[in-house]
Amino acid sequence: MPRVVVDVMLKPEILDPQGTAILGALPRLGFDEVTAVRQGKHFELEVTEPVDEGRLRQLADILLANSVIEEFTLRVLP
């Protein structure tokens, strides 16, 4: 069954408190090489064939991502 992956991230100009908190914890753990962290959501969908990518984008747009503050990327896995 085809799989679709949607990654949802806050728009770059929007504050990401989660990423900031993780970044703050890293030096204590000795991971100084990380200079920025952003956290988003990752969705994996199973869909029936045929895959209509346009419809799925619409789905991501209205349900998975909040277009006021987030943006998404969508990939259909082979």
Partner: protein, 222 residues
């Protein structure tokens, strides 16, 4: 008896836990997350709250606080440790207790007065309670759904390490209605409900929570 209460950035119920210790007759000692020194305490409470905003996962960042290095070390040597709500989450993240706490099945934060059944009265924190007693203690969490692998669950049950179980409705979808568990030695206990909010008739639904704190004090005295 000196009972340490750790404050992490974002801890909320730290003062409440201190009050409960005081009402139970103990001496509350404030411990700071950034300090490895446990200030000669005889037991430690990891209080409720949103340490580090509960970002990433509840308790995931607090686990690496300097104070936890000592808590983990001393817990292995038998120091009584009680993790309440966020404290329970920190104990699981630290692997002092098995399993994990995940998003409530209904996806909401839920605060209600919860009936619990006490199933293990041989831990450091429950020795003064009655086995099979039903008590009422508030729950309030968004990520209190306890999960663990089936073999881990069977072992917990087999060894009698389920300390409290939800009775009369499960507020968050925890497997097998588990509300709190302990380690093999019974010195480390974690639970999602908040006994520190059930220590005065004026401000809580009961005074059933006081027993957790008095258990510790009387057990160590005798």
């Amino acid at each position: 008896m000196r009972v340490g209460v750790v404050t992490f950035p974002g801890s909320l119920d730290d003062r409440d836990a201190q009050r409960a210790v005081r009402l139970a007759g103990g001496e509350p000692v404030a411990l700071w997350h950034g300090d490895e020194d446990l200030r000669r305490v005889d037991a430690v409470v990891l209080p409720g709250g949103f340490s580090y905003g509960d970002y990433l996962r509840c308790g995931a960042i607090a686990r690496f606080a300097p104070v936890m290095r000592t808590v983990i070390e001393r817990a292995a040597q038998g120091l009584p440790v009680l993790g309440i709500c966020n404290g329970f989450q920190i104990l699981c993240e630290s692997h002092l207790l098995p399993g994990a706490l995940t998003r409530n099945a209904h996806l909401h934060f839920r605060n209600r007065d919860q009936r619990l059944r006490v199933e293990n009265v041989s831990t450091a924190w429950t020795s003064g309670l009655q086995r099979d007693a039903e008590i009422v203690v508030p729950v309030k969490n968004g990520e209190g759904c306890f999960v663990a692998a089936p073999d881990v669950l069977d072992r917990l049950e087999g060894e009698g390490r389920v300390v409290v179980r939800y009775a009369d409705g499960n507020p968050n979808g925890s497997v097998r209605d588990i509300a709190g568990i302990c380690n093999a030695n019974g010195n480390v206990v974690g639970l999602m409900p908040h006994p520190e909010h059930a220590v005065e008739t004026l401000t809580g639904p009961s005074t059933d929570g006081l027993g957790f704190f008095t258990s510790l004090l009387t057990a160590t005295v005798s």
